[in-house]
């Protein structure tokens, strides 16, 4: 088992193409940036060059979407080798992915599909996380997914699954507060019970994002500012977990950088005064 990851209580943003110029040509007041690992797991060319330049200015967290630790199939060794090469070059602050599955056989949905929270799935997920951490030579973080349906087959709830997974593998947790909110609304469980149920000493990073409300469900679209309910849940998380690396995720309808920095300032303010009512 790898040693626990050190804490890092900074504030960051996801690096997106729309803001490359800002990050390369101006000082941006963030403590770290997070990139989608797969976008830079390429052989060469401009993406890798840009990432190297950004890395010279900021700590970088690598956040993946394709590891698929919840698949019945073993992790893709070619994928892990490519990720390892990127990790070795970038020396990231964190390497993370999701508690989800995408692949079965030769099929890859390229979606973060929900894992049934069964004992069988827990054994398989833990085995795959062990293999991934071994291949990368370091502990990883795994993010709670946004979920739109409940599998009929469940032996435990999501936070029990995450807590046992972290305890057995030594991995850290990436707490996506928006996903907690979205899943709790969609599946009708208690978001506060989730926060209380995950191990505080394993949470190393927090994601904040916006979602879309439809007539039937909430969808994790990352195309809007963080809403008041999610800010309130973030405040609860800060009270439970203390200062944690926090970042805003925005993947669609991306505004100019100052708008995201302003949103990040709300998070900073809350972290300074976790029990005041600054933003909600």
């Amino acid at each position: 088992m790898f040693p626990p990851l050190p804490g890092f209580a900074g504030f960051g943003l996801g690096l997106r193409k729309e803001h490359y110029r800002d990050f390369l040509e101006t000082p941006v007041p963030v403590d770290f940036v997070e990139v989608i690992s797969e976008n830079f797991m390429v052989d060469g060319g401009q993406p890798r060059h840009i990432l190297r330049q950004v890395r010279e200015r900021h700590p970088v967290a690598l956040h993946g979407v394709s590891m698929s630790v919840g698949s019945i199939d073993d992790p893709d060794i070619r994928y892990l080798r490519r990720l390892r090469a990127l990790v070795d070059e970038i020396e990231p602050l964190f390497v993370s992915d999701h508690l989800s599955w995408s692949r079965i056989g030769r099929f890859n949905s390229h979606d973060l599909l929900p894992v049934p929270y069964t004992r069988e799935a827990l054994d398989i997920v833990c085995r795959h996380i062990d293999a991934a951490q071994e291949a990368l030579g370091r502990a990883m973080l795994f993010e709670n997914p946004s979920v739109y349906l409940r599998h009929e087959e469940q032996d435990m709830n999501e936070w029990e699954f995450l807590a046992t997974m972290a305890q057995r593998t030594g991995c850290g947790l990436l707490l996506d507060v928006n996903n907690v909110y979205v899943s709790s609304c969609n599946l009708g469980w208690d978001a506060d019970a989730f926060l209380s149920g995950i191990p505080a000493d394993r949470v190393r990073q927090i994601h904040l994002a916006g979602h879309t409300k439809t007539d039937e469900l909430l969808i994790d679209t990352h195309d809007k500012p963080v809403c008041g309910d999610v800010w309130a849940l973030y405040r609860d998380a800060l009270a439970l977990f203390g200062p944690i690396a926090t970042m805003i995720e925005r993947d669609d309808d991306i505004p100019p950088l100052p708008a995201l920095l302003k949103e990040l300032d709300i998070a900073r303010g809350m972290a300074r005064r976790p029990r005041s009512s600054e933003a909600a």
Partner: protein
């Protein structure tokens, strides 16, 4: 139900084409996953083939995309690779439109070249110092080559510069197309048939002597050797070939 069975069932429900009336997939949650699966793949194809999606029109492109998605479920670890064989569906749907086939090749090859491995370069000034017996001519990893029979290059350049598109037409003489990356910018150039064949030859025979022999066979002794020298100087200048000793 085992994890394997759960995942196999979900795969079948996600990829089933046409309307799905199974009661389990009528839940809002399943609809979100199913819609996201298909919408994401359509978006991926639109992003990989931006000119063709506009040129064919949204409805026609969507029909081609749906056919491709039904016939080719994704399997690579990266979504960026999904459109790699979309050209086969376009050839299927438009068997008599070589302009569409060549435009599809251009768009896909540009995206591949953009992230191909970085390569060393050789200065044309080094030519005088080379051991011509030992030197090997290596194509840059970003180089992509194909046969050209239409004015697809002119069509693509017009689209890329937002100019009026010319009419599609066949070339008087077939030649080749080359795509490569110069620093971080991808380039597209039309080649005559001799240069195209000479570059293809380097895949199998990287010796300068082999290049000379092929060109001598086509052009005769003196013009063949002269053309080999001119081509090599041009390739080194463009950065599509480097010399390995």
């Amino acid at each position: 139900m085992t994890l394997a069975a759960v995942q196999q069932r979900m795969r079948e429900r996600l990829t089933r084409s046409g309307p799905d009336d199974h009661h389990a997939t009528q839940t809002p949650g399943y609809r979100i996953y199913r819609n996201h699966y298909r919408a994401q793949l359509v978006h991926c194809l639109e992003t990989s083939y931006p000119m063709l999606s506009g040129w064919l029109g949204p409805d026609e492109f969507l029909q081609a995309a749906i056919q491709y998605i039904d016939d080719h479920p994704p399997h690579a670890w990266t979504l960026d690779a999904y459109g790699a064989t979309f050209q086969s569906t376009l050839q299927d749907r438009y068997p008599h439109n070589p302009d569409i086939h060549e435009l599809a090749w251009i768009e896909w090859s540009l995206s591949e070249s953009f992230v191909a491995m970085d390569a060393p370069t050789s200065s044309p000034g080094l030519l005088g110092e080379l051991d011509w017996e030992a030197v090997r001519l290596r194509l840059a990893p970003s180089v992509r080559l194909c046969k050209a029979t239409t004015n697809a290059m002119a069509l693509w350049h017009a689209w890329n510069s937002a100019a009026a598109l010319p009419e599609s037409e066949m070339l008087a003489t077939a030649g080749g197309l080359i795509i490569w990356r110069e620093d971080f910018i991808c380039r597209l150039k039309q080649l005559d048939a001799i240069e195209h064949a000479a570059l293809l030859l380097l895949h199998d025979d990287s010796r300068f002597a082999g290049l000379c022999a092929a060109l001598v066979e086509h052009l005769g002794e003196t013009p063949g050797v002269r053309r080999a020298g001119e081509l090599l100087a041009g390739w080194l200048h463009m950065g599509i070939v480097h010399c390995e000793c």
